[in-house]
Amino acid sequence: MFEIFGIPSNALFGQLLIGLINGSFYALLSLGLAVIFGMLNIINFSHGAQYMMGAFAAYLMLKYSGLGYWPALIIAPLLVGITGVIVERLFLQWLYKLDHLYGLLLTFGLALIIEGVARNQLGSAGLPYVVPDELRGGQNLGFMFLPNYRAWVIVASLTICIATWFIIERTRLGAYLRAATENPALVRAFGINVPRIITLTYGFGVALAAFAGVMAAPIYNVSPQMGSELIIVVFAVVVIGGMGSILGAIVTGFGLGVVEGLTKVFFPEASNTVIFVIMAIVLLVRPAGLFGRRA
């Protein structure tokens, strides 16, 4: 065993892997944000609340209808995605032509309302949710003990991220979508229902948040404030990656997870500020973010 900066290499490998796992959550959440911002130009501040809704949906499904983790992984994002569609139809569609600030304020207000209702109905202390039986236990990798559930988190998150990137950047549907954001009038002239595409895109972004919420339920505390604690970091990830850049969101999500993981070994007290320090530096050097195009 050799040492790197006084830390045994084993411990370091472990931390790198842990960083990747946390990065999976950042990537999943910032992906949804990037899709919504890239396609709708809305800064979706209710993303954290929608992530929390996903976790709560999973909890409520288990409690009231006995549906476990696997059905929840599909149904919860669908349900929360539908609420997203409703929100888009009722409110957001009127804001596209206005300044970003209006969308931000609206979604922020929504987030406060959703959190308030959740707190009122379900309390602030949190609710229990256990790791599904199939994913209990873990593997001894020699340098660390890797819980099976964490391994699943990385695989699932990478799959979703790559699939989303592929759909938007490499398929015809994605091409319509990008064209619709670029020039809605022209795309409409080709007979494509632009408002519907936009609505569904928002629903999809929200469903991604809910998916992350269900993924988080067995390992993080399921409580009304679980989203607001995470969302600020995720916004920093999106800003560093470049607002609206899907690849940027994914890469920086995983990358910052690793950086944060390493900080937790070398200087734990700074682990929740390191991302913001990086954000400040990136903004100074590249104001559009690492992968962003200058407007």
Binding site: G123, A125, F145, M226, E229, P268, N272
Partner: protein, 404 residues
């Protein structure tokens, strides 16, 4: 005979009318976290407990008129200070109660001293409130970091857990808890092999848990609270910490946290509390009333709620004993300290000169799901720590009021 009876009746009427003439007016402010992470351990539940205390007291003392208000400090010392200042100066509040979050509580304690009002702490934990930062206007009711450390720490070391690794929340409360526990562990022949300071509200503890795992310490002490505690316990189950032979010591775990973890995850955890709803009939009866007042089925009161009830009751007794008129905070606190405490939830107790309320503490272990008979049946009682051993000895706290 008739004449005597008549005189007696007259005397009784006179006595009553003097009692009415001596009407006592007090205003109580419950300052708590109403809308964030500590809202379930204090918050609206503390207000419900306060209402029960006032109702119970007024049954026998109709001459005491109590006005009850409540406020949200949002876990921010500046917001808490602002509310406390306004309550004392403008709204003429006599006493502030509860205040979970040691940072806010230390600020409010200082304001109560400066304005010579009264502060009864139930929600906050820092033992400095009756130690170096003690003052004649603060009474610390329910629990504190020293008591938690002493209860859980001592029990763990005694049962063979003599090497410790701390996961510490990086703020006043966490540091106090870590320091107090370190003292207890070392005093009982144990050793602290490492610690890591974790920022407040951390989502993912896996990095820290790996460090704790590789330290090979027998006990991992969780010097944190609320969501941090829940996350760290949940994730240590995932990483197989307990299965690997290490033990977890939850240094501050409330019944609401156990509820949030679920018994399958929390089972076997050792913890110390001063009050548990399912411990005896009196507590269960009170819990029923609290549930009705709180209007929340399926919730269980915490020791903080019980402390709010008990603290207000004792305050009202002391205030009524002083009679009508104006009394400053110090005078009422002195009266509270001079009277023994007695109520259905905490039994008989006393308040020490440094402001520390003294009562027994209980070492519990979380039940396995198979042992739990009904919802909320969380704990098995492992040991009772008698009142005179449960809290830090008076001389050791460094409170200037005591050492002179």
């Amino acid at each position: 005979m008739k004449k005597t009876l008549g005189l007696a009746a007259l005397a009784a009427v006179l006595a009553c009318s003097t009692a009415y003439a001596q009407q006592v007016n007090v205003k109580i402010g419950v300052l708590s976290d109403m809308s964030s992470l500590y809202a379930d351990i204090g918050g609206p539940g503390s207000v419900a407990a306060a209402k029960l205390a006032v109702a119970d007291f007024q049954k026998t003392n109709p001459n005491v008129k109590v006005e009850l208000i409540s406020g949200d400090h949002q876990n921010k010392p500046d917001v808490g200070s602002q509310v406390a200042n306004q309550w004392f100066d403008v709204d003429k509040v006599d006493v502030i109660v509860d205040v979970p979050n040691s940072g806010v509580a230390l600020a409010v304690s200082e304001i109560a001293r400066a304005k010579n009002k009264l502060f009864i702490v139930s929600g906050a934990a820092a033992s400095t409130l009756t130690g170096a930062k003690c003052n004649p206007n603060t009474v610390h009711w329910t629990y504190d970091t020293w008591m938690l450390a002493n209860g859980t720490g001592k029990a763990m070391v005694k049962t063979g857990g003599d090497t410790w690794f701390f996961l510490t929340a990086d703020y006043a409360f966490g540091h106090a808890l870590e320091a107090d526990t370190t003292g207890v562990v070392e005093k009982n022949g144990g050793k602290v092999v490492g610690k890591v300071r974790v920022p407040l509200n951390t989502n993912d503890f896996s990095s820290f848990l790996l460090q704790a795992q590789s330290s090979k310490a027998k006990v991992i002490g969780l010097a944190n609270a609320g969501g941090d505690t829940i996350n760290s316990i949940k994730q240590s189950a995932e990483f197989g910490i307990v299965k690997g032979g290490q033990k977890l010591a939850g240094l501050l775990v409330f019944s609401s946290d156990v509820n949030a973890l679920g018994l399958p995850t929390a089972q076997g955890l050792s913890l110390t509390e001063t009050w548990y709803w399912d411990m005896n009939d009196a507590n269960r009866a009170w819990t029923k009333r609290w549930n009705a007042e709180r209007n929340a089925a399926g919730k269980y009161p915490t020791m903080i709620h019980a402390g709010v009830y008990s603290g207000i009751l004792h305050y009202l007794k002391a205030r009524a004993a002083l009679g009508a008129g104006e009394f400053d905070g110090k005078a009422v606190t002195d009266k509270m300290k001079s009277m023994p405490t007695d109520d259905v939830l905490f039994g008989k107790g006393t308040i020490r000169p440094d402001g520390r309320k003294i009562h027994p503490a209980y070492l519990f272990e979380v039940k396995a799901p198979s042992e739990s008979k009904h919802p909320g049946d969380f704990y098995t009682l492992k040991a009772t720590i008698p009142a005179d051993e449960a809290f830090r000895p008076l001389k050791e706290g460094g409170c200037p009021m005591v050492s002179g």
